[in-house]
């Protein structure tokens, strides 16, 4: 693949994916390989890591150095945080969320998974399915990632054995069956590979001729984009209201534009809509982006909506299609991942931010905690500490227009903010 063949077109699509695994599984090498074999790495970066590899006495270039982190991390020998990396193939742009494998794993993985449409779960062929493999898989399921790629790495260290690959595949599928991983249309692919030698990542290599399936990159290239696989109802949280009050332009005098992003579904001029929580109805008069007039708009598009009737709508309200409106709720159950070192306190009032809307919230009760390694439900004793996941009910001061997270990732998700510090302390997913 030469660089020019890689020249992205304006019409390329985009895929966000997550890599989970520890450095020992070869995660950094896999990412380095994807960047290197798609010619994303430029000469000066390569020279830099060649020099470092030599300094550390390595014979070949250590591609894992491409994801080497911050000075603060090198000093402590840990990876602090999710890093985002980019490459393009000529048909698609990719955003990789690279979650570190050690400390604060759950918190980082939930963060990285929240925006991903595909997860690559790395398994060391010598070790097979481990506790961390189960944890990664469960978290990918919890956060609603529809496509799972199980990358069985280090095949070079098991003599590229098909039997080893099959053994791991069967073990994983048994576990997947237990947790219902393939429910909700989720698909699982298995790829044998060697990140070190570059087998089955971008190039097929010659050592795995018994494997006829797609390479990692072929899977990435063929995965359907987010929101393309199911029909979702129209949800439009209002971010900002534009009222120019233009005295010099009579056309703009009554202009009232509701600005936001289509979180799901589609909308067209003439559609009947309802503003929530007020419940007032109107019809779409026009759809614009800047000064450009659009006939309709699709998921993830940022637009400005104009309605036929003058109804009172402000930031935090949601415009939906009248026929498929969610019911505003003042109480909800959610799976919550706690992100803060300060434990959850039932005595306190938190802020829940859902789409563009905020409400004060109090914890009603904690139904159960989840063991992220076994997926077992544990009794909810004590409070919730960092990396804990639990099913919690909340009482809300303001109504929220939620959908179950399983049905809609955008309107089923919320964050919990500590009013005193303004920190984001929890991530919530609404349960049906």
């Amino acid at each position: 693949m030469s660089k020019l063949e890689n020249l992205p077109a304006h019409t390329d699509s985009l895929l966000r994916f997550l890599t989970c695994g520890s450095v020992d599984d070869g995660k950094s090498t896999l990412i380095g390989r994807l960047l290197y074999d798609t010619k994303t790495i430029l000469a000066d970066t390569l020279t830099q890591i060649e020099r470092t590899s030599q300094k550390r006495g390595m014979e070949s270039v250590d591609l894992s150095l491409l994801t080497d982190g911050l000075q603060a991390e090198r000093e402590q020998g840990i990876t602090i945080d999710v890093a985002y990396r980019y490459f393009s193939t000529g048909t698609r742009k990719y955003i990789i969320a690279d979650a570190p494998g050690h400390e604060q794993y759950t918190r980082n993985m939930v963060t990285a998974a929240s925006t991903a449409n595909l997860a690559i779960i790395l398994i060391d062929a010598r070790k097979g399915v481990l506790t961390q493999t189960r944890r990664h898989s469960y978290l990918a399921q919890l956060v609603g990632i529809p496509h799972i790629v199980v990358a069985i790495n280090k095949m070079d260290l098991v003599d590229y054995s098909q039997a080893e690959f099959e053994r791991i595949r069967v073990t994983y599928l048994e576990f997947a069956e237990q947790i219902g991983l393939q429910r909700d249309g989720r698909d699982i692919s298995f790829v044998p590979m060697s990140a070190l030698n570059g087998d089955m990542i971008v190039d097929r290599g010659s050592a795995l001729s018994w494997y006829q399936g797609p390479t990692i990159l072929e899977l990435l290239e063929s995965t359907p984009p987010a929101h393309s696989e199911r029909t979702e109802p129209f949800r439009f949280p209002v971010q900002f209201v534009c009222r120019p009050h233009a005295s010099d332009n009579p056309e703009l005098h009554d202009f009232r534009g509701f600005m936001g992003r289509v979180e799901s579904g589609q909308i067209a001029v003439g559609d009947e809509v309802t503003a929530l929580p007020s419940g007032l109805n109107s019809r779409v008069k026009a759809i614009q982006l800047g000064n450009t007039v659009l006939g309709h708009a699709i998921t993830e598009q940022s637009i400005t909506l104009l309605l036929e009737d003058e109804i009172d709508i402000s930031r935090g309200d949601m415009i939906v299609k009248t026929a498929l409106a969610p019911a505003p709720v003042k109480q909800l159950n959610a799976m919550v991942c706690w992100l803060s070192e300060t434990p959850l306190s039932s005595a306190r009032t938190y802020i829940i931010r859902h789409t563009t809307r905020e409400s004060k919230a109090k914890v009603g009760s904690i139904a159960y905690k989840i063991d992220v390694n076994t997926r077992a439900q544990l009794p909810a004793e004590g409070s919730l500490g960092m990396n804990d996941i639990a099913s919690i009910s909340f009482k809300l001061a303001q109504p929220l227009m939620v959908d179950p997270y399983d049905v809609n990732r955008a309107t089923g998700a919320f964050i919990i903010i500590d009013e005193a510090t303004n920190n984001t302390v929890g991530a919530g997913m609404v349960q049906a």
């Binding site: 000469a43 911050l70 985002y84 980019y86 900002f240 120019p244 992003r261 699709i298 940022s302 563009t356």
Partner: protein, 326 residues
């Protein structure tokens, strides 16, 4: 709010048909994400400001702001922290663009910080790039800004790869990489207490290539020094160093040192910043389409080629960010 005249831009929304529904192309997706972020800043912050240098990244953000807020005015002023060592072409372009948009432009200069004594240069010819942080913090305090929108991208530098889209800074403008707010889905938390500050980066997920393709698609105007032109340079520390550069005040900076041979070379700038630390690259790309091809085929990273300030140590950017740099 006063309405601004319809500007000349028009957009074709590119859609790729997939399965049963249409999805956005990568440029449309990046645009939509950036507009969403700009509107979240407008919705959540009480007194934001858009940092605008006249460079290519901030010019993209201006176009995104037009799409986000027209026919209304921008819900924030523009601000440039001027080191005093900027290319005339860029300063002129900055002023021209702000005037065309009819938006308010604030300029605060490192020169004034030097006069006040809050910036002390080690020597007269020391690069003023890192001192922008002081002037920026002074301006934030002067105007009470609670959010600064900037054009930084995660692909630029490894200290940026872990940066949040809404990045929290304490009262001293410091970034603490170990203590960042988790950022999930597209639910941004731009809350801050008085004196604290949020830095918002709407084009975090863009690469250099995305920026050039967007400029090409949107037909954005750029300062002329982004295109191939002839310029006097010397070779210094193995790199190209522009010499005898006139400033807007008539002063000439970047004098060649004794023994350096001046060459007139065809070059262009990949990034535009302080004259003393931004180097051009040899290039014959005199059009946007040639720049896109050059960006696709170059073997040197954007900052590797052009930012002399990032080469002093492996962690230069990380250090500057901790000190309040954007």
């Amino acid at each position: 709010m006063r309405a601004v005249d319809s500007s000349s831009f028009s957009t074709k929304i590119n859609m790729t048909t997939t399965l049963n529904q249409q999805t956005l192309s990568h440029l449309d997706w990046l645009e939509a994400e950036a507009i969403h972020i700009l509107r979240e800043v407008a919705g959540q912050c009480s007194n934001p400001v858009l940092l605008f240098s006249g460079g290519k990244d901030s010019l993209c953000i201006l176009r995104l702001a037009e799409k986000a807020f027209r026919p209304g005015r921008f819900p924030f002023p523009l601000m440039h922290i001027d080191t005093g060592h900027n290319y005339q072409e860029v300063i002129n372009f900055r002023d021209q663009r702000a005037a065309e948009l009819g938006e308010r432009l604030i300029v605060r200069s490192v020169e004034d910080s030097i006069k006040r004594g809050s910036v002390v240069l080690k020597s007269a010819d020391e690069s003023r790039n890192k001192h922008q942080s002081v002037t920026l913090l002074e301006a934030i305090e002067e105007f009470g800004f609670d959010c600064c929108i900037g054009g930084a991208r995660r692909d630029e530098e490894k200290a940026r790869a872990k940066e949040r889209i809404m990045s929290f800074r304490d009262e001293f403008g410091q970034w603490d990489p170990k203590n960042q707010r988790p950022e999930l889905w597209n639910l941004y938390n731009a809350r801050s207490h008085k004196g604290e500050n949020i830095r918002a980066f709407p084009i975090s997920n863009w690469t250099e290539m995305d920026v050039w393709q967007y400029i090409e698609r949107e037909k954005l105007g750029l300062p002329s020094i982004y295109f191939a032109h002839n310029r006097d340079i010397v070779m210094r520390n193995g790199g190209i160093f522009p010499v005898n550069v006139p400033l807007t005040n008539g002063e000439i900076i970047n004098q060649p040192k004794a023994g350096e041979e001046i060459v007139n070379m065809q070059v262009r700038f990949r990034t535009v910043g302080d004259i003393t630390c931004t180097a051009p690259v040899p290039s014959d790309a005199d059009s946007l389409s040639k720049i896109v091809v050059e960006t696709a085929t170059t073997t040197i990273t954007e900052r590797g080629a052009t930012r002399l300030d990032d080469q002093t140590s492996d962690a230069s950017m990380e250090q500057r960010k901790k000190e309040g740099y954007f």
